[in-house]
């Protein structure tokens, strides 16, 4: 069912249930938001998305106001601009004035610049408690940067549905907390890192890249790839420090693509987001090895190793026939790897004895 309303003087259609924010963004209108995330129910908490609607005395939040037929909506006006500047200036009074270069962008600071908010309205250092002692390995909380938009706690409730973190205390002491300020390791937290993904200011951030003093994101190369764990096929962005490892490059952080763009909708699990250290692990095999008569391994060139491998398999074939060979391919490797293995088995060695763990 579609209906229409007037958006900045233009007739536009909308479907039942759509919010003003959704309609406006679909029509290319810019409305700033801090507490909004398409994965979450509208909270209407940050008030940055206020718009004017004819017949409404107060400006309603676009994110939490459903479109109704023949509404007349204005997304930009002097009144709206004045409101945004004032609001963002107020947010800045509770935000560190100078900040070190962070891993992620600070959307509040960027927004304040874009809308020309004053940065000199004084400072009200809130006593927000952090969890300095939290021994969880992945998620770091920087209370000074928190603007209490509650995206993280709502994500933890509505998307991951574990409710490990919550808003606690009142007034200027309000903070993001766990029960009794326990380490995330001792809560229902599944370490998915969604709180980091939704945080607009970088108050929730990756602990490992921080402690390893990884370069800020603008100095990293981002490579979109597919997660190598389970079969969901989450898209992820490998953040690469190209100069590390003598120029080989190093994956220093994994982030999820923007919500609404891929199968995983901006979400990742603990393995996809955090378990990438194996890529660069010292245990990696780096040299071809050939077994010696005494049972030890000798390092070899590729040429020699390929020759020994090919000869060994050929010898079994000539002694016992092609079907004495078995080729175990891998559901962990790519389509292309699997294609050439089955072709190797069938076309080069003459047997259909080729399978992988899909049997199990």
């Amino acid at each position: 069912m579609t209906d229409s309303l007037e958006l900045d003087g233009k007739r536009v259609s909308f479907s039942a249930g759509e919010t003003l924010l959704e309609v406006a963004r679909r029509h290319g209108k810019e409305i700033p938001t801090l507490c909004h995330d398409p994965r979450l129910k509208p909270a209407g908490a940050c008030r940055t998305c206020l718009v004017e609607v004819n017949g409404f005395r107060r400006m309603p939040p676009a994110c939490a106001t459903r479109a109704t037929a023949d509404m007349q909506v204005t997304t930009n006006s002097e009144r709206i601009q004045r409101h945004r500047q004032g609001l963002l200036s107020l947010y800045l009074t509770d935000h560190p004035e100078t900040q070190p270069e962070r891993l992620s962008k600070n959307q509040l600071v960027e927004m304040a610049e874009r809308y020309g908010a004053a940065g000199d309205w004084g400072s009200m250092a809130s006593e927000r408690a952090g969890r300095r002692e939290d021994r969880n390995p992945y998620v770091h909380f920087e209370p000074d940067l928190c603007i209490l938009c509650a995206r993280c706690t709502r994500y933890c409730d509505e998307v991951e549905a574990v409710n490990a973190i919550t808003l606690a205390h009142r007034g200027a002491k309000t903070t993001i907390a766990t029960v009794d300020q326990a380490s995330l390791m001792d809560t229902s937290c599944e370490l998915c890192g969604g709180c980091i993904d939704v945080c607009p200011t970088g108050a929730m951030t990756e602990k490992l890249p921080l402690t390893r003093q990884v370069k800020p994101s603008k100095h990293l190369k981002v490579v979109r790839s597919t997660c190598n764990y389970c079969g969901v096929g989450c898209q992820l962005d490998l953040n690469v420090d190209t100069s590390a490892n003598e120029g080989r490059g190093k994956v220093v952080r994994v982030t999820s693509p923007e919500t609404g763009t891929t199968t995983n909708d901006g979400n990742l699990c603990v393995k996809g987001r955090f378990a990438y250290d194996f890529v660069d692990h010292p245990d990696r095999l780096t040299v071809p090895l050939i077994r010696q008569p005494d049972g030890s391994f000798k390092e070899a060139s590729w040429e020699e190793a390929i020759r020994v491998a090919a000869d060994g398999l050929s010898r079994v074939k000539s002694r016992h026939g092609a079907d004495a060979l078995g080729f175990v391919s891998s559901s962990r490797c790519t389509m292309e790897d699997n294609y050439v293995v089955q072709k190797l088995s069938r076309a080069a060695f003459g047997t259909n004895n080729c399978h992988q763990c899909a049997a199990t």
Binding site: G231, R284, V328, T334, V340, Q342, K343, A358
Partner: protein, 533 residues
């Protein structure tokens, strides 16, 4: 999956059976949670209490291995109460009468005796499933890793067909794939009976097509399934090439496999890490991992997505496909592939299902779901729209068969194995990640308080778990999450290999091993042994 991951959030009824979705497929679980948040009904059928069962409207905590009883009893209720979709059955299926006949004796009351699930819960679930329009079934290895795994799948398919929950959004039959590219490995033809795109090796037309395409004579004889191959190691199988799997950690009943490995003449191992299998290798070839190579993975919903090289491999390690091409060349087959896009192009050239997919299209469109037969085809979100893909949907009548090895007076417990959130399969990757290792450092066994008390075992105590095939040690986790008489262990720990215990009895059709049910026992470790440790 007949349907897509993105459709889950719009489902109104989710029947999750044999899938610990939150731990094994966390992102799909998020979609399920989203559906629940919008009012969907969730039923979880699992012998264990899992995170998802805490969110469920009903948790059907069945005895391991009794799935056919549960599913046939649901069919019994649906048929008996006239809740079948007769129009769909008439138009799109065959064999319904045989199923109706077969499930006649599977009354919910008798099912209660066998499965341990209250009859009224079976009836409630059957009714809700049959009468909800957007009702989907989601399952994983808890269904398939049984000696009657194929029967389980048939019994599920019967439910889907008789209710017409097929070819529509947010419904269908959805096996959630366990590995990044397990769908793709099968699609690519790494199976003993199929060339790429599920074309049978013994089909004369297919055979002729590939002999012409590849320019070499090919064997028309289907090969050995992996489980058959593993049992034949050291006998019929005397040479092995193993890429990217630690068979000595992952295959069932590994002590028997080790005996066979001692007798083989040659083993090539291609992997990124040393593993258990390496002990028997004659040559080890160092491979690049996903972040170091180009290519594609195909996910559970048949979506082909790109894998892109982000960093250079360490030392002399190289991408698997390059190594394999070199091996082929060394035995006289020069395929002249310059990159993975060319490999993919050759694969789809002879496989009509994927003919419209290329690296180029995947790059520009972000991912494509097969079937995708032509370059201008948009791909397929859900299968069987407007009917059933291949002729008629075939009902398959199945009868309950007990698992191969049931508890007896000596091994009194039912052992099941599985995956946890914090590790992945052989865990060569995840156990090298300090955070995950800290969250879950070593082998544990879940045991019911009653069973623990019988054996004088307390929570956290180091115990021995043993079966006819082997013994391992583990930390006892005393919990009501498992049924009385059942124990559960994860499969990730090389120093306490779950597969020393498991039974390699295979499914009659697929030979998939019975990882989910074998007879086992738990005992305290004598004091002197503990102190020696």
């Amino acid at each position: 999956m007949t349907n897509s991951i993105g459709e889950i959030r719009d489902a109104d009824f989710l029947f999750v059976i044999g899938s610990n979705t939150t731990e094994a497929h966390p992102i799909i679980a998020m979609e399920m949670k989203r559906a629940i948040g919008s009012g969907a009904t969730l039923v979880v059928a699992d012998p264990r209490s899992i995170w998802l069962s805490q969110l469920a409207d009903k948790h059907l905590q069945l005895r391991p291995g009794t799935d056919v009883w549960l599913l046939n009893a649901m069919a019994h209720v649906i048929i008996g109460e006239g809740l079948v979709d007769q129009a769909f059955i008439d138009a799109h299926t065959e064999g319904y009468e045989a199923v109706a006949e077969a499930v006649r004796d599977y009354t919910p009351e008798r099912a209660e005796e066998v499965t341990g699930i209250p009859a009224e819960d079976i009836i409630w679930t059957a009714r809700r499933y049959a009468t909800t329009e957007k009702a989907g079934i989601y399952y994983t290895l808890g269904i398939t890793e049984h000696s009657h795994g194929t029967d389980n799948v048939y019994a599920l398919a019967n439910l889907v067909l008789m209710t017409g929950h097929l070819g529509k959004p947010s419904s269908g039959m959805n096996p959630l794939r366990g590995q990044n590219n397990v769908q793709g490995a099968n699609d690519a033809g790494a199976t003993p009976i199929f060339l790429p795109g599920y074309q049978r090796v013994d089909d004369p037309e297919v055979h002729a097509k590939y002999e012409k395409s590849w320019g070499v004579p090919l064997s028309p004889v289907p090969g050995m399934n992996l489980n058959v191959m593993m049992k034949a190691v050291g006998k019929e199988i005397l040479g092995l090439y193993v890429m990217g799997e630690d068979i000595l950690l992952s295959e069932p009943n590994v002590s028997r496999l080790e005996e066979g490995m001692n007798k083989i003449e040659f083993l090539v191992l291609q992997d990124a890490f040393m593993n258990e299998t390496a002990r028997f290798a004659d040559v080890i070839l160092p491979a690049a991992i996903f972040a170091e190579k180009d290519g594609t993975f195909t996910n559970s919903e048949r979506r082909v997505q790109r894998v892109r090289k982000a960093v250079e491999p360490p030392g002399m390690a190289r991408p698997d496909w390059e190594i394999v091409c070199d091996l082929a060349k060394a035995v006289g087959h020069d395929w002249k592939f310059e990159n993975t896009a060319q490999v993919y192009a050759e694969m789809v050239r002879d496989a009509p299902k994927f003919a419209g997919i290329s690296h180029e299209r995947v790059d520009s469109e972000g991912g494509l779901q097969w079937p995708c037969p032509a370059p201008d085809h948009p791909g397929t979100k859900f299968l069987h729209e407007g009917g059933v893909l291949r002729g008629k949907g075939q009902f398959q009548a199945v009868q309950y068969r007990p698992s191969e090895e049931l508890p007896d007076h000596e091994y009194t417990l039912v052992l099941s194995t599985g995956r946890t959130l914090y590790h992945y399969n052989a865990a060569t990757q995840t156990r090298r990640e300090s955070g995950l290792a800290a969250k879950q450092p070593r082998m544990f066994v879940q045991i019911h308080p009653w069973d623990a008390k019988q054996r004088g075992i307390t929570n956290g105590e180091r115990v021995e778990v043993y079966s006819r095939r082997g013994t391992i040690t583990a930390d006892a986790v005393v919990t009501k999450e498992v049924r009385r008489g059942c124990i559960w262990i994860p499969l990730h720990f090389a120093e306490a290999r779950a597969n020393l215990l498991t039974n390699d009895a295979g499914d009659a059709v697929t030979q998939t091993a019975e990882y989910k049910v074998c007879a086992a026992e738990v005992r305290k470790i004598p004091e002197q042994v503990l102190s020696a440790e």
